[in-house]
Each structure stands twice: as C-alpha cells, then as structure tokens.
C-alpha cells in the first residue's frame, strides 16, 4: 500500500463524518404546519396501524387549470387527509387541482365564504330518514393558489320530544394565501 493513501482516506472520512454530524446538529427542523393537540392520536395497538394518508402539498397541485373531472376519472385520484383536525366518515380525494370531499352521514353543506368558481355539492338519499341508510354529501372544489374558503356541514340533531332536525355538523377551512407554499385544510366537528 502506498504510504500516502491511507492517511488521505482516513482524513476525508473524518472530515465527512464531522461535517455530517455538524450538519445534523445545526440544521433547524423545517417549518411546517404542525398538528394541533386534538389531531394527534397515539398508536397504542400492538398491530401496526395502516399508514396515514398523505396531506396535500402545493407541489401536488398543478398551477394550470383543468376541467372538472368526470365521475369515472375520480378513481385515479389520490386519497388525502386534512392537515389539521378530522371529519369522521369523510373521504378526501385529489385529482389534478380538484378536491372531492365525500361525507357519509352528513345531511348538507354550504360554501360559507370564498370564491364559488367550480364549486359543486350534492346530497344523495331519499326523503325519509333511515339510520341504516345514511345520506351522503359530495362536494367538489378546485384548489387555487391565493384562494381560501370556509364550508359548513350539516348533521342530524335531536330535538327531544319534537323529533329531529338538521343540525350543525362541522366546518372545513381551506387556507391558501398568496405566497403560501402549501394549502392548509382544517376540519372540525361541532362538539355535542
């Protein structure tokens, strides 16, 4: 072995190792939306839970606009979850820049505020209430940079002796300000 090769290699390794450690010590964590306390759930089961669905990143959403997907196209969409909070019974699917939210058990929805361009919503079901055959609310909206929206969802509320009526279910906020890299979708359910 040439006498000069070993020292050079070991020197390089030492420098690289030190640099790696230094980088690890000094790099601050990336700033991103953190989950609020209520959204974090610990996996306590001995069985590994299913991998959580991804959240939306701005990089996933094309800047070009496209036509609203046809029903048959949605199967190619990507299932995602809200960044913050949860709405049980609701599924979120992203296809191109379009977001579809499907909520079982909800009895209605409203775009409370924000640009209504491209927003559509439907409630399926009959005209009678059946606990075993719930309604489904479907909402479709394009996600656009610089556009924020607020939605409310309806549920069923008991009026005691007076029967039942539509009640407040929950709310959803889509916050995507100018210059904000990623949208933030936050959901909440009205407490009992």
């Amino acid at each position: 072995m040439e006498p000069n090769r070993r020292p050079r290699v070991s020197r390089i390794l030492a420098l690289l190792g030190g640099a790696a450690l230094l980088a690890a010590a000094l790099l601050s964590p990336a700033v991103r939306a953190s989950d609020p306390p209520a959204a974090v759930s610990a996996a306590s089961s001995a069985n590994a839970p299913p991998a959580p669905l991804p959240t939306l990143r701005g990089a996933d959403i094309p800047t070009e606009t496209s036509k609203e997907p046809k029903n048959s196209e949605w199967k190619d969409g990507k299932k995602v979850q809200p960044h913050r909070g949860e709405m049980k019974g609701c599924e979120f699917v992203l296809l191109r820049e379009w977001l579809r939210v499907t909520c079982k058990r909800a009895t209605g929805a409203t775009l409370v505020a924000g640009d209504p361009e491209g927003v559509k919503m439907f409630t399926s079901g009959r005209t009678t209430w059946d606990e075993n055959d719930l309604f489904t609310v479907l909402l479709v909206t394009p996600l656009r940079r610089g556009r924020s929206q607020v939605y409310t969802f309806l549920d069923v509320e008991s009026l005691g002796y007076e029967g039942s009526a539509l009640g407040e279910g929950g709310a959803m906020s889509i916050l995507w300000r100018e210059g904000q890299e990623d949208p933030v979708i936050a959901a909440s359910v009205r407490p009992d």
């Binding site: 020292p7 309806l154 009205r190």
Partner: protein
C-alpha cells in the same frame, strides 16, 4: 527513524483529533442559546434604565423575555417567577412558577396595575391611575384589606377539561337571598310563590307626563338586601387621578420588586408593548384615547398620540419600528410607524369576520383587548366580538379571530354571499326546523366557549392560539391555520368547573383575563380576575394547580355580583353573553343595538339584536302561520338603542331606561335580562327564586365595586369656565335646566323632543319622550343620543339648534367652549 515514527503517529491521529474537535464544536453550538428569530417576541438584551450593576463586575448576558407584549400575568425570562397585576387590589404579586414551595410576595402598586412586560432584571408595569389623596382613601375603603403573602392559599389540583355546566335550574319559588346556604343544603323548603305582579316590560311614558316615582324595593316583592350591606361609592371622588404611569421595577430576591422609575402618561394607562431592542415602550391609555411612546432608558415620553376610542392591546412587529393597537370599541386597528424615530399614527381598516357578514351589511366590533403576531410576523390575530355576525343560533353576533395580513394590511378571510352553493337533505317533515337551527347558507354557530375573548397567546409548537375566554371561565385553544380560528376550537380547558347552584357565580377560575406560556409551551398560566386565582394548566393532561391570591375585599353580595358581571354561562341573565360583553369595564361597546319585539322560545318580548339581518335568528317560524301573515304585513318595528355606560352612573334610585320606563334599578335589570334574552319561560314570576338574588348581587356590585374610569383632577381652564357659564345660563344654552348639575347632570325626567331623522335600518320612534341622560363621563362615550346619530360632541352641539335648550345663538367659540366644558364632566 524516531522523527519519522512521530510524524507517522501524528498523521494517523490527526484525523481523529480533527473529528473529535469538529464534534466538540458541533455540540457546543447546539447547546448554546439560539438567537431570536423574527416574530417570536424574544428580544436582544435590553439596556437598563438605571444601571445597578457593579462597575467592577462583567455584565452578564441578558435573557430574552418570554414575550414583549403586555398582559396582566407575565413569566420572568428564566421562567422561575410569575408576575401578576391585580388591578382590583392595586397590588403586584410575585409568585414561584410552581405556585408552591415558596411564599408569594406582594407589592403595593401606586394605583391599579394593568399589564406587565417582564424583561431580564426590569419589570415594566402600566398603572391605570395615580389617584389623588381623597380618591386613594375612597378606593382603599372600597377594596378592603390590602392583600398579604399569608392571604394566598392553594386549592386542590383539578382537571380543566370541558365539562357540562352544573347549575341548578331556576326554582320558580321565592327564596330570600339570605337563605342561600339553607337552600343549597336542602334544609329549606321554599314557600309557595307570592302573588306579585310581573314587572311590566317597557311601558311607554306618556309624552310630557312626569316619570313615575321610584317605589321602595320591598314593595316590588323582591330584592331585599340580603347578605352583607353594600357600600355605594361616590364616583366623583374615586375617579380623581393625577394621571397614569409606566412604572419600572427592579427584581429583588427579598422584596420581589423594587420601584426604579415612573413615567407619567395619560390616565387609564392599560396596554403595553416593548420593542425587541428593549429601548422603547408603547403604552395605551384607554379612556384618554391616547398612546404614549416612551424611551425606557431615559424614562421619558417622546410622543403622545391621540387615537380612536379605547385603545387597548399593543403588538410590536419584530423590526421594532411598527406597532399595532387594538380597540375595545370600533372595527379599525391603529398602526404606529417609525417607533424608532418620529412616531406617526394611522388607522387600519379591519372589518370583522367577512365570512359572517350578512350580505349588504356592515358589522360592528368590540372587545379587542388583545392582538398577537404569528411567529413569522405575516399575520396579526385579533380575537374580538363581531357584533351582528351571522351564525347558526346567533342573535348578537359571534366571537371571532380576525386575521390581518401584515403585508397587504387586509383581512385574509373571503366574504360571505347568500347565493353560494349549498346542499341539504330534503327530509319530509324536517323542513320546518326553527330558523335558529342549522340550515343551508348559514355560517357555523358562534362558539360559546370563546365568548368575551380577553387575552391571547400564540402557541408555536401546535400553531394554535390560547385564548382566555372571560365569559366562559375557560382557556380555549383554537386552530391558527384556518380562515377564522374562532370556528375551529381544538380544546377547551374549563377552569371554573363548579358554580354556585343558587347564584350561578363561579367558585374559582372566574373571568380568565391573562395567559402566559412556559418556554416549552406545555404549561399555561391563567389569571382569573373575578376570583383572584392563578391557574397553572398542563396543556397535555389538563391537570391544573391553583393559587388563590387574595379574597375579594368587597362585601359578600357585591363580590358575588363581580363574578356574575362577567359570566356568560347563566342563562337566567342572558342568552349567552355576560354583562361585561356589552359593558366592558362597566363602560359601553360603542354600538347601537336594535330593539324589537321578537319571539324566542315561543315567547314574544322585546329583545336586542345586533343587525337587522340577525332578526331571522329568532324562532319566528314557530309562530302560527296566520299570525305570520299579519306580521309580514306589519313587521315589528326596530328601534335604535345605544349601549349606555354603567360604571359611576347608577347611583340614583331611578328611573332608568331610555324612556324612564323602569322605576328603579331592579326593574331595569329585569327588563335588561329580557332584552338580552335571559331564559326564563314566558309568564313566570321574575321576582322569585334565585333570580332576584342575582339582581341583588349585581346591583350591589354596580354601586359598590364597579369603578368608573380615572380622569385628571384639575382646575377648569378659562375656556372651560366660559363653557360652564354658557351651560348654566338660562338665556344662553340653558342646558342646566334639565341636565341638573346637582343631580349628576340629569333631572331623570322624560321629555318629548323634536324627532331626530330616522336612521337607515330603523323605524320611526313611536315614543318621543326620552329621559334626560346623565352627562357624566360623556367625553368617552361617543357616539351620542339613543340612536348614535351624533358622532362627536362638536357635531351634537352644532346641529342641536333649539331641540335641547338653545344652542342656535352660540358663536363658534361659544360652542367650542361649551364642548370643552362638557368634556370635563
């Protein structure tokens, strides 16, 4: 050979030495204090105003403060101490961070302290008033014994989790307030209800007729003075002030705090902010409507800036050059720029809650006690009331968190439109749900656990805001990364947990008013000012430890009234708001409410609503359809009724009400509860049960404990004296014939006056006889008249003509002199 061996060993070991050296350097860098990041509120080391370090000792690096924003509760930079400003006892407390193991220290303040910023070695405190000697004596009489360290006590730890409120239902039977203990223990079998006439709701005074004489309380069948006798104070004495102060204290291991300097500012000094370099402080003087910029080193005011009514919270941007100030009334913020040079003031429009604004309406706003930057400084969060905001079940509005984009200075939230897409299940038989329930198109209902937001901090690790919810006796955590955080409550820490079943006042944790976070943001400290407690809340478990600072010095019934005044949870008193919601600090919210006959819970009565569009929030669709047809032809008129100020204005026995329709304060409170949708069923006996005890407690507090704002005690200027003469002169303005000086500037009689032009959104008044209002404190209660149609006193006098007295013959100078005099009252 030896040299070459040595050389070889060096060449072998150097890389390892180098690696170890790099590692050591990396570890050292990771363990050192981080430098402050923009927007996190931490400061570089501030310079001290009066140096106290020994010249021979090397100066120690200063720890950055936890926050540069004032609050009634602050943590020391090292997290070891908690400082509390107890305004009611006019004292400062220095507590150990664990709230135990060490005695508290109590420092008498020169007057009522409001907010604290704790720098390293220097604690700055705003003091609302330096009272005159006679005012000080009167205030000491009111607040009772000065607190002492031995007066503090710990309560058992609790778990501050959201819990259903347990309050006994209103009994419907009369129980004397002095028998409260017996009632609660079950000893007392309440007698049968006494047949007494229900107090009439808003009877009209006939034009020109003298007002009804106030009847003695006993004849009303209620409100005998139970418990301890009240001690009404003289507001004209207690208000007297030598000005407000910014006081600088040095921390002291033995005494807690030692005063180092005072800077005089305008009276009612309240809000406080400090620039990141520690060189400048910004103080808001609420009643005086002034903001002072102070050079801390020089202990001197460098700018006094007039601003809009009731400036309160101060938030200073990370660059130290710009401050934003929130206001208790009104929708706009105040921006102060060039803090490091020649400070200048500008108004920044922030219309409340665009998502909740009914189409075509403008909302009001109130209760913006605080505002806080996001860590990156791009957003400014302003928790407050949006008066008139829509929402399922809303009649007055909603608590909101308005977010200002600091770059564009615009609200980040988009607007609401009723034409937006909506969908709803069409279930047979369910389409007759009351309007107050959910229906398509409505914004989420207002969250009761946020009502009367009093203070807020940003919790970086979770991107949430922790809001001290005064009316709900809770600490509420909301999601900051939403269009309106107030719609997304993540967690509620219910501090009071238990209420008196008889009187509905909290036993502890009443009126949370200040919040501070530990360095790791896992612990929150909350000051509860109606019960004088400090709560230390573990935010992950809700486990809460307590320190009670001092007992209330007011007589017992007045102390209970203090707790009720802020409380929004008793449905006897209102439909979801405490008195302090519209009468913050006993003042007014600057809003003109709509009074109309509406149907709530099947009962038709006079109620307030925030804006005209809120009327649909009542249960009108429960009225039979034939009645609806009649109502649609003749909709119930809506009249304007401005919120009156209470503090220092309710000494008289009566009458009360805009038309002098209520003979005394008891009747007025009962009518008021109805107007605010207090929830007893229609037709019930409102003089009975626990209800009348609450009236008693509140009246005692209003007359014995609710102090008016401080005003400068001084001689009248020549101009003001001229105005006084004009005021009294029968041949000039002749104001004094109705605004009788000896009677608090009112004869309390109702006179029919020439009608004011009907304001848009309201109907013509059916009754033109309005009671002469008191002129006390009118300098700070704009706008004026029952309908708020006069924005300033100058405008009022100028447009009066001979409607009230006669100001039509006054020259411009005389008018100015009259206004100058009115502002001294």
């Amino acid at each position: 050979m030896a040299r070459s061996m040595k050389h070889r060993s060096l060449r072998t070991s150097l890389p390892w030495v180098g690696t170890l050296g790099i590692l050591a350097a990396a570890l050292a860098g990771a363990c050192s204090n981080k430098s402050p990041q923009p927007g996190d509120g931490a400061a570089a080391a501030p310079s001290s105003a009066a140096g106290s370090t020994s010249p021979s000792a090397a100066p120690q690096p200063k720890r950055p403060p936890r926050t540069l924003q004032g609050s009634a509760l602050a943590l020391s930079p090292d997290g070891a101490r908690v400082f509390v400003a107890d305004e009611e006892h006019e004292s400062l407390f220095v507590l150990p961070a664990a709230l135990a193991e060490e005695p508290a220290r109590v420092i008498a303040a020169p007057g009522p302290p409001a907010q604290i910023v704790a720098l390293d070695g220097l604690v700055l405190v705003t003091v609302r008033s330096l009272p005159t000697d006679d005012a000080r004596a009167a205030r000491e009489e009111i607040r009772g014994k000065a607190p002492a360290p031995e007066g503090t006590k710990t309560y058992a730890a609790s778990t501050a989790k959201a819990a259903p409120l347990a309050m006994a239902q209103w009994s419907g039977k009369f129980v004397h307030p002095k028998d409260r203990e017996k009632f609660l223990s079950g000893e007392l079998a309440p007698p049968e209800p006494q047949p007494s006439a229900k107090p009439s709701a808003a009877p009209s005074a006939k034009p020109g007729a003298p007002p009804p004489k106030p009847k003695p309380a006993a004849a009303e069948g209620g409100a005998p003075k139970g418990g301890t006798p009240s001690k009404p104070f003289d507001p004209n004495v207690v208000r007297k002030s030598q000005g407000g102060l910014l006081v600088g204290y040095r921390t002291d291991s033995e005494k807690g705090l030692v005063e180092a300097f005072r800077v005089p500012v305008a009276p009612d000094a309240w809000g406080l902010g400090v620039t990141p370099d520690g060189k400048r402080a910004v103080v808001s003087s609420a009643w005086a409507a002034e903001v002072s910029v102070i050079d801390i080193d020089a202990a001197k005011v460098i700018a006094s800036l007039p601003v809009a009514r009731e400036p309160r919270g101060v938030a200073i941007a990370a660059d130290g050059k710009t401050a934003f100030v929130s206001h208790l009334v009104g929708t706009a913020l105040t921006k102060i720029s060039a803090l490091d040079a020649q400070p200048a003031v500008a108004s920044v429009a922030l219309p409340p809650s665009p998502p909740r604004t009914p189409f075509g309406s403008e909302l009001g706003a109130s209760l913006a006690y605080s505002l806080v930057f996001s860590p990156d400084g791009k957003s400014l969060y302003v928790p407050r009331h949006a008066i008139g905001a829509e929402g399922i079940g809303s009649w007055w509005g909603a608590p909101v968190v308005d977010i200002l984009d600091t770059k564009t200075e615009k609200h980040i939230a988009p607007k609401h439109s009723p034409a937006y897409p909506a969908t709803q299940a069409g279930i047979e038989g369910w389409d007759q749900a009351p309007a107050w329930m959910a229906s398509k198109g409505q914004a989420p209902g207002p969250r009761p656990e946020l009502v009367q937001p009093r203070a807020a901090v940003y919790r970086k690790k979770t991107d949430t805001l922790l809001i001290a919810s005064e009316g709900w006796d809770a600490l509420t955590e909301v999601d900051a990364l939403t269009v309106d955080p107030a719609m997304f409550v993540r967690k509620t820490y219910d501090l009071a947990e238990a209420y008196d079943a008889f009187g509905h006042f909290p036993y502890r944790g009443g009126a949370p008013s200040a919040v501070a976070l530990s360095e790791d943001e896992d612990t929150a400290y909350v000051y509860c000012r109606s019960t004088f407690d400090v709560a230390r809340v573990d935010l992950s478990t809700g486990k809460t430890s307590w320190l009670h600072l001092a007992d209330d010095g007011l007589p017992e019934d007045a102390a209970r009234g203090r707790r009720l005044f802020t409380n929004a949870r008793s449905q006897d008193l209102s439909g979801g708001l405490g008195c302090a919601a519209c009468h913050p600090d006993g003042r007014d919210d600057g809003w003109v409410w709509r009074e109309s006959e509406t149907t709530v819970f099947g009962s038709k009565d006079h109620h307030f609503i925030g804006v005209r569009a809120n009327r649909k929030s009542d249960r009108d669709d429960q009225i039979p359809k034939d009645v609806v047809a009649v109502l649609k032809e003749k909709p119930n008129p809506i009249y304007p009724r401005q919120t009156p100020m209470l503090a220092g204005r309710v000494r008289a026995s009566g009458p009360y009400g805009w038309h002098a329709e209520n003979a005394n304060l008891i009747e007025r409170l009962i009518a008021g509860f109805g107007l605010h949708r207090g929830g007893w069923e229609g037709g019930a006996d409102t003089t009975a049960g626990q209800f009348i005890a609450k009236v008693d407690y509140l009246i005692d507090y209003l007359q014995s404990g609710l102090l008016p704002p401080p005003t400068l005690a001084r001689e009248l200027t020549e101009t003001e004296k001229r105005g006084q003469a004009i005021f009294a002169d029968k041949n000039k303005a002749n104001c004094a014939s109705c605004h009788v000086p000896e009677g608090e500037f009112t004869d309390r009689a109702a006179y029919p006056l020439r009608a004011l032009p009907t304001r848009p959104g309201f109907e013509e008044e059916a009754n033109l006889a309005f009671k002469t209002p008191s002129l006390r404190f009118i300098a700070g209660t704009a706008p004026y008249f029952h309908d708020g149609s006069a924005s300033t006193l100058e405008e009022l006098i100028k447009s009066n003509g001979n409607r009230m007295g006669n100001t039509s013959g006054l020259s411009a100078d005389d008018q100015a002199a009259l206004v100058a005099y009115l502002k001294t009252l």
